[in-house]
């Protein structure tokens, strides 16, 4: 290790030590209060320095000077969304200072919703993002103790900023990932795969078939582009040889936010994963946390209120929709009251502590006293008459309910409604033919999670009419 690298690592670790100390020592109420103070500062800063936002507030008749309390903020500050922000404004007008001069990278969403959204990183904000990422990586995977290779399988050239560990940017090339792991298996203590869930499934399955000894390697996975089923995590864990009770032997965790804007909001950790896994298996815990009748658990994650202010408002379908205000001082494109379209509910740390205590499950309470987000992702469901519906999340749990079924399908599917009936088309993996009883098994699995009767058709890979051309560069559209 060179002197410069050594100093950098020491500095990074010192920063983490401070962060861990702060998170462990602060009272939950104190953390929330800090976030609320930061919110008002972030709002005033955006109103002053971001031309498009200044214009919007003026159009809506909002006087920034009059927003001095959280109550006033919630009452008067308008909501933003992808459609109202990105198509109608020049990107420079969305930036602090109204210029693009100090930007080091741009991001774009995949456009799968029909609207492209954009993010931008300055050198300073990139450094800040790297700090957050390395904190996460060290907390979970001890990257300063273990020689680590991070394999970035994210599509479209999305970068992962770190200052301390090597990164292989493979994009969505499974063969390249396998070649790298085979070549470097003896040179690293662990690998961290970062990618979107459908592609990670492909990488890990094909790796098993191509002789990657996953069970003999220490492999961690970070995903987050879309909602993942708990059964999906179990399936990947089964292929990788992960023991979910022993995080030091590998973890599969979700990190969610608005990745196209370079924003990480929610993070899982060992205890929140255990919490969701236990809730998935135990009706009493699941109903207490997510409501009576819940069959599919939302993701259970924590967030930093000092960095992101979260609210929920009734969404189009009446379910709570997540609204985000970014609080980072260095962000180039700050967003205030930005509607994400994600179904989510927040819960304070003391509220969670109380629920778990009542159920005698205090052992599942995370160490950091941060609030929780229960995130269901985009609300994707097909409704029938009588208010019944079947959702993409229910199908996702069903697809991975039985590993025999999971191993035959890509994970891509399409729900639709015709003549008052719901049809589910499921894509088989390339080169696979449906085994006898596959439809029956999937139907039985779906009945575990959804109340609606669904007609299921299993289609060979090439005959599945949706999304093959995307080749993992766009998100699957499930309806």
């Amino acid at each position: 290790m060179g002197l410069l690298t050594g100093i950098t690592n020491w500095f990074v670790q010192w920063q983490y030590t401070r962060l861990v100390h702060a998170l462990s020592a602060q009272e939950p109420e104190e953390i929330i209060a800090t976030g609320e103070r930061n919110l008002l500062k972030a709002f005033r800063s955006a109103a002053e320095k971001v031309p498009a936002y200044r214009r919007l507030l003026s159009e809506k008749g909002v006087n920034p000077g009059a927003i001095s309390t959280i109550a006033a903020f919630k009452e008067k500050v308008p909501f933003l969304d992808k459609e109202s922000v990105f198509p109608r404004n020049a990107l420079r007008d969305l930036c602090v200072g109204g210029h693009l001069d100090d930007i080091c990278s741009f991001y774009s969403s995949s456009g799968s919703s029909g609207v492209f959204s954009f993010g931008a990183e300055t050198w300073q904000s990139a450094s800040h993002a790297a700090l957050g990422l390395e904190f996460l990586l060290d907390q979970h995977f001890q990257i300063f103790r273990r020689k680590t290779l991070l394999i970035n399988c994210l599509p479209m050239g999305v970068k992962i900023a770190t200052r301390t560990i090597p990164v292989a940017d493979t994009s969505v090339r499974a063969d390249v990932i396998h070649a790298l792991i085979k070549k470097l298996a003896d040179d690293f203590d662990q690998f961290i795969l970062v990618g979107e869930s459908p592609f990670l499934k492909k990488v890990i399955e094909e790796g098993s078939e191509n002789g990657i000894p996953w069970h003999n390697l220490l492999v961690n996975v970070i995903t987050g582009g879309e909602f993942i089923a708990e059964n999906f995590r179990s399936y990947l864990g089964h292929l990788l040889g992960i023991d979910f009770d022993s995080p030091e032997r590998g973890m599969i965790l979700v990190n969610m936010g608005l990745s196209e804007l370079g924003l990480s909001i929610f993070r899982e950790e060992h205890r929140t994963i255990q919490l969701r896994r236990q809730a998935h298996l135990n009706r009493d815990l699941r109903y207490a946390l997510f409501g009576t009748g819940t069959e599919v658990c939302p993701l259970v994650m924590q967030y930093f209120p000092q960095q992101t202010f979260l609210e929920t408002v009734p969404g189009k379908d009446g379910r709570p929709e997540l609204v985000v205000s970014t609080l980072g001082k260095n962000l180039k494109i700050p967003l205030i009251r930005y509607r994400t379209g994600d179904t989510a509910r927040t819960m304070t740390y003391p509220e969670m502590a109380l629920v778990l205590k009542e159920l005698g499950r205090e052992n599942l309470l995370p160490e950091f006293r941060l609030p929780f987000g229960m995130v269901g992702g985009k609300s994707v469901e097909v409704e029938l008459a009588h208010g019944e519906s079947v959702s993409a999340n229910e199908v996702k749990e069903a697809l991975y309910h039985d590993f025999g079924v999971a191993s035959q399908v890509t994970g891509n599917f399409r729900l639709s409604r015709e003549n008052g009936e719901v049809t589910l088309l499921v894509q088989l993996r390339d080169g696979f033919a449906a085994t006898p009883g596959l439809v029956g098994k999937l139907s039985a699995a779906l009945a575990t999670y959804a109340r609606v009767k669904v007609t299921i058709a299993i289609l060979p890979y090439r005959q599945f009419p949706f999304g093959i051309e995307h080749n993992y560069e766009r998100k699957n559209q499930y309806i």
Partner: protein, 275 residues
Amino acid sequence: MTNFTQQWSQNYGNLVDRNIGLLTEEQQERLRTSKVAVFGMGGIGGTAFEVLVRCGIGTFSIVDKDTFEPTNMNRQIFAYPHTMGRMKIDVAAEWAKQINPDIRVGTFERVGEDNIAEIIRDADVIVQGIDQLKPCIIASRKAREMGIPLVEGWAIPYGNVRTFTAQTPTLEEAYGLPTIGRDVSAITDEEFTKLGIELLLGLGKIEGVADFYNEGARKRIAAGRLTSFAPMVWLTSVLMAMETVKVLLNWGEIAFGPNFTLYDPFKHRIPRGTP
């Protein structure tokens, strides 16, 4: 007072109409909202499953890796000429749907340490009707860890049932198995087979069994070829189904392990029940 019947479909109301009286509507609703995991869809598990379906239990997980074959016909309730060669779980799930169209049945072809938690997810009771030791141990260990009662019975020696909970000795302790404290993955299939046969032969220690199971039957079991007879099999299945309902409703006296609760129809008596 809650009127539970308003939540029932007409099909369900018809199905359970004759239960009411012996069961209250509240107890019936408890059965409707309960989940039972049944391991094995053969002689024991299949019959217990059908009885439980007819009792009105609303949700099941069922497990079996086999297809029906002609030698199942003497005792397996879903074995018919037209079901030969079909997966037992598929046939059983279809059958259950005909009895109760509202029922939810999750099916699994195998039991492993990697999928046992999903099989018994949300289960209120486990019915153990598999005649192989490995899945039996996997299920019983996970059941204990997750706090789910496990009802066990065997096709031999005669009608028998017992229930394991967190308060009873474990199934492995009850049989005195040398598997206690060992990882399942560290035990070979050969050892499981050997222990399974020993376990079955151990049932012969129960008082009076030798009167019914002659030397020929015992030699056959020792050779790994099970012997079974529909009245005995179904008797145990019905006892297990009844025990399951009792556990679900916290009703009557539960047959807690390690002792078996037995009925010997051969001599019309209640033997002492320790294997």
